[in-house]
């Protein structure tokens, strides 16, 4: 088990989904609400619980483009709606990411 430096109380952790996050606000991925076989391509590209995601722009059709570890990944908004995220508290930004229980 890893140390959790996140001290701020995460507000409704599983309620917040990626499409609700304004552009350029970095959030932490908590959970992927997809069956394993559909989640695997995301996992392979580093979209994992605990990682920092930042929606950087939206495509002409309104689908999100996210930045993760310096890579840009385009998603459909249906997929983005399956990404449960939480806002980073002031101390959480510098902290070690938490190993979240998935599924």
């Amino acid at each position: 088990m890893r140390v959790n430096f996140n001290s701020g109380p995460p507000a409704k952790p599983l309620e917040l989904r990626l499409p609700a996050i304004p552009l350029r606000q970095t959030v932490e991925l908590v959970h992927i609400d997809l069956p394993a076989d559909q989640a695997e391509p995301l996992l392979e590209r580093g979209v994992l619980p605990g990682c920092k995601i930042c929606p950087v722009r939206s495509s002409p059709s309104g689908d999100p483009i996210i930045s993760i570890d310096g890579s840009l990944i385009a998603l459909r908004r249906e997929t983005a709606a399956c990404l449960c995220v939480r806002l980073l508290s002031a101390t959480g930004v510098a902290g070690v990411t938490q190993l979240q229980e998935a599924s």
């Binding site: 391509p41 996992l43 392979e44 580093g46 002409p60 890579s71 385009a74 459909r76 998935a102």
Partner: protein, 639 residues
């Protein structure tokens, strides 16, 4: 004795040439867009071969690298993958080669894993499964110049120590650091003992954890390693962001997309014209020179009226095809293609295809065969079948010679939108558009009937914009020219000879008969009633039959037929001859026919292989033929 040794497979299977002289085999792996193919081209140059993996049709690129003067290493460039779930066929091929289970290819003796160092952390997710193979491995940090320029850094020595691999920094695009890779290759020794039981998987061995947890743990290990190595991720690429703010803009994005498409098609016609004229002049002057050098005989007739006219009329379209591939190459290497896929995704989604189908469909503009193979990246089986089914509606480059000939012959050049869009380019665009409409309608129909399914997902990595490397694109163009000319030199050459022979019999007074009475004319007239409603005469009919081999063969066929027919009056070019025989309506009908019809045996063959049966190819061939017939029937009455 050990020389012929090859894991489980005799040297006669498939690509035995690789194993002939006992050179060590090194596999080049990495995620897509990491610069893998650029490095491969840097190392092997022209000493490379493209073939298919046995059984499957994923392209296999193998090349030879000379190290230390006389030693050689065989290098195989594996398809780019993000992981080893073997979900797509590319991933399956990569896994099989790494595990030494690919028939005809021995297990690699060493590995070169190349990653884009500007995205080091996520790209290193591949490192763990690769290292588990326990082979000598070189980790190549590519695009390291860009990492430095954008203020990122990493300590190679620490990274190398922590991972237990050698590391080389490169900038494959301009060849910087490639010596480091060469030095590693120079030290690779052939392994004599067959390593057994190699497994490469996404989920680490011995972890009974659910997949997501296994990934998360690996991710934590990678993060620790890069942190220890002092990895500072690069700042955002300002240039890429600026370009994206235009190319993915709500208004400008689709406009740029449309402008790029128009630019490509306009240039195919305007830029290619002087080149085509040049090749044309070369073909006809060489024909005249050969004709003058030979005595008047049947052999001269065969050579000039058959071969020169047939093969020559196709070869002149080489510049156009190269320009198309040049643009495709630039779009892909610059990173714009991924943006185009994102812009197209919603449209694709609406007709029931997924965004990943965009790349196969776009490759379909070059050739349906690799496009159908590229459809393997579409992971949902129903989506893949739908993609394969509509791909032949994309205007492949083999249609281009047919379109170019008929448009040049029947459509006068006139400005439509000032200097931006000419009438001929507009007609060409219209034909491309008609193909898209047919594809969309067909996909729509399929997804509501035979291939009903719920919508799937779409993920697209957007690589930073990069200047395409001339060398890399040049090599690809060379490759395409070879394929095109080989086809002209074999299929079209053979068809030209057979057709010429058929025009020579039955002999009349010891000489060739009038073409209408020849064996070719007679058999053409047999099918004439079938195509008469479309306004085509028997010459076009013969062309339609021969073009079943490959679409552009009709141009060569007509070249041969009219070449023989007009042996006395050589000034009459193919275009003039066509103008005498076809009405404008029939010409447009012929164009429409070629938009729809599946006149390509290679496509049918590859479909049969990819769909594992005759059901889909037969259905598709009949469906497209019906569309073509009805389309031409309507066109000839409208125009």
């Amino acid at each position: 004795m050990g020389q012929a040794h090859c894991e489980g497979e005799g040297p006669e299977s498939g690509v035995a040439l690789l194993d002939a002289d006992g050179a060590p085999l090194v596999a080049l792996i990495g995620p897509p867009n990491s610069g893998k193919t650029t490095l491969f081209n840097r190392l092997t140059g022209l000493r490379q071969k493209v073939a298919n993996y046995p059984g499957v049709t994923v392209e296999k690129h193998v090349g030879r690298v000379e190290v230390d003067g006389d030693r050689v290493i065989d290098l195989v460039d594996l398809p780019g993958v993000h992981g080893f779930s073997a979900r797509s066929l590319d991933e399956k091929v990569t896994r099989d080669v790494l595990e030494g289970r690919m028939p005809g290819l021995r297990a690699p003796d060493a590995l070169v894993l190349i990653v884009d160092s500007t995205r080091l952390e996520s790209q290193l997710m591949l490192v763990e499964p690769v290292l588990e193979l326990d082979l000598p491995t070189l980790l190549v940090l590519n695009m390291s110049d860009e990492l430095d320029a954008r203020g990122g850094r990493v300590d190679d020595d620490v990274l190398a120590r922590r991972l237990g691999v050698r590391i080389a920094r490169t900038d494959a695009r301009d060849g910087k650091g490639v010596e480091g890779v060469r030095a590693f290759l120079g030290g690779v020794q052939r392994r004599e003992a067959a390593p057994s039981g190699r497994v490469v998987t996404n989920v680490p061995r011995g972890t009974p954890l659910p997949m997501m947890d296994a990934f998360t743990q690996r991710r934590h290990r990678v993060r620790e390693v890069v942190r220890e190595a002092g990895f500072v991720p690069p700042g955002p690429s300002a240039a890429s962001e600026r370009l994206d703010s235009i190319c993915l803009h709500r208004v400008w994005g689709p406009l740029v997309f449309f402008a790029v498409v128009v630019l490509v098609f306009q240039s195919i016609f305007t830029w290619a014209t002087p080149l085509i004229d040049g090749v044309d002049a070369l073909v006809s002057s060489s024909g005249e020179w050969v004709s003058a050098a030979l005595p008047d005989s049947w052999f001269r007739s065969l050579l000039i009226d058959g071969v020169w006219a047939g093969v020559g009329s196709v070869v002149v379209f080489l510049p156009q095809i190269l320009i198309l591939f040049l643009f495709l190459g630039i779009l892909e290497d610059s990173g714009y293609m991924a943006r185009a896929a994102v812009i197209a995704d919603r449209m694709m989604c609406r007709v029931g295809l997924q965004g990943r189908a965009f790349l196969p469909l776009l490759s379909g503009y070059a050739c349906a065969v690799p496009a159908i193979l590229a459809a393997r990246t579409v992971d949902d089986e129903r989506d893949r079948l739908a993609t394969i089914f509509v791909t032949p509606f994309m205007t492949c480059s083999a249609r281009l010679p047919v379109y170019a000939l008929l448009i040049a012959a029947f459509i006068p050049e006139r400005q439509l939108l000032g200097p931006v869009l000419g009438q001929r380019a507009a007609v060409l665009l219209g034909l491309y558009g008609l193909g898209i409409v047919a594809a969309v309608g067909t996909a729509f129909l399929l997804k509501r009937t035979l291939l009903k399914a719920k919508p799937s997902s779409f993920l697209m990595e957007l690589p930073p914009y990069r200047l395409p490397s001339l060398r890399s694109i040049g090599l690809r163009l060379l490759d395409r020219s070879r394929v095109f000319l080989r086809r002209a030199g074999t299929i079209i050459f053979a068809v030209a000879i057979v057709l010429w022979t058929l025009t020579q019999f039955p002999r009349v007074d010891g000489g060739p008969p009038p073409i209408d009475d020849s064996a070719l004319g007679r058999s053409g007239q047999l099918i004439e009633p079938l195509i008469e409603p479309l306004g085509f005469d028997w010459r076009i009919g013969v062309g339609l039959v021969t073009s079943l081999a490959a679409r552009e063969v009709i141009v060569g066929t007509l070249g041969t037929i009219y070449g023989v027919e007009d042996a006395t009056d050589t000034s009459l070019g193919l275009q003039d001859a066509l103008r005498q025989d076809l009405t404008l309506g029939a010409a447009i009908g012929l164009l429409v026919f070629f938009v729809f019809a599946l006149q390509c045996m290679s496509t049918v063959a590859v479909m049969r292989r990819e769909t594992a049966g005759w059901k889909w190819p037969v259905l598709q061939f009949s469906y497209m033929l019906l569309l073509a017939y009805v389309g031409a029937f309507v066109a000839v009455r409208v125009f």
